[in-house]
Amino acid sequence: MLARSTDTPEAAPPHVPGRSGTDRLAMFRTAARHSRNVRALKIALPALALVMAALFLFQSYRSSPGSVEIVAETSAVSEGKLVMANPKLEGFTEDNRPYSVSALRAVQDIANEAIVELQGIAATLPLNDEMSATIDAARGVFDRNMNTLDVNSEINITTSDGSQAKLGSALIDIAGGRMTTDKPVEIRFKNGSINSDALSVEQNGKLVVFDKRVRVNIVPPKAETASQ
């Protein structure tokens, strides 16, 4: 589901010497458009949702994101932190379906630019031809060196066919296509639900393991008609 290309995103973006906030922003923007960092970021944020979406629907999602455009309404530097308001990452997957990942705020510490704290994360992800998923989470910390996103707040995922997932937290290893949480998980789908107290998703959703007090409830479709 992530780009299957052999080139894995390289470790750390080149360290940018100290600059004033504004031209750093300009540098970040231009860097964002052209340099390979963008490719890392481009893969990173959508991958968060891809991995989660995979968790949710247990379908692997093979196309990889195509072009990307980072847009931020206003940005400011305060107390050594670059604050971007409403950063939005939009693009199209290779089979031309739109995705968008946005946040109310992205806060990046100028001294350590690999860490981006995202607040008010919201993403819309195409899953397959007919279905898409929306994902929202209060906040998460994205580490570009480790290529991980640590969402330490509740995550809600809803798909266009009405299925829903609620996770207490999620540590996402984006390059590795892994996601784990040791907080309760609840998934509701058309005719049933799955609950457990821990979850791990491996190989981009190929293997999903619910752990600790797994409870599955299946209401066979016939039952619905019977009860009317």
């Binding site: 379908q59 789908f189 799955i194 190929k206 293997l207 999903v208 797994v214 299946i218």
Partner: protein, 162 residues
């Protein structure tokens, strides 16, 4: 190989009722369209209850949906590790069991498969139950000690005219 047959009304899975499954762990392997419940597996549907150490649910390959969304249709179940099946009147125990959803045939096998209803007990090495007809058959064990492969059956007097 001697076998005993009988009517087995209790032990049937009415497909309309909701199913609850509990276990320590659930592994869903997307590529192989199967879901494996591991550890203290407990399945209840209406009056019928099944306990086992492990239960593997095989989905019809190429079925739409996926194991976890429950929308994929189930091909068969395999259970192992101290299998215990109880319906409102009968209890069956064995080491391994399979349940084929299409033919609705349940088989339970092991070194000692016991099917009991109240004090009536049938002991053999294999229990085959056709869920649709409720017809059950227990086959004896072919082994050195029990050459004849006889089924051990004990019927409590007076239980027939219940």
């Amino acid at each position: 190989q001697e076998s005993a047959t009988g009517r087995l009304q209790g032990l049937s899975i009415s497909s309309g009722l909701p199913i609850q499954i509990e276990s320590d762990r659930l592994e869903v392997v997307d590529g192989e369209s199967k879901a494996v419940f591991v550890g203290n597996v407990n399945v209840t549907q209406g009056p019928t209850m099944l306990k086992a150490g492990k239960m593997t649910v095989y989905y019809a390959s190429g079925s739409t949906g996926s194991p976890a969304t429950g929308s994929a249709n189930i091909d068969r179940l395999e259970v192992e590790g101290k299998v215990y099946i109880k319906s409102d009147t009968q209890v069956a125990t064995g080491d391994r069991g399979t349940f084929d959803m299409t033919s609705e045939v349940l088989t339970l096998s092991g070194s000692e498969v016991v099917l009991s209803e109240g004090k009536n007990v049938l002991v053999g090495c294999k229990l085959t139950v056709n869920m649709k007809s409720g017809r059950a058959q227990v086959d004896g064990c072919k082994s050195e000690t029990n050459k004849s492969g006889r089924v051990m059956m004990s019927i409590q007097p007076g239980s027939q005219n219940r």
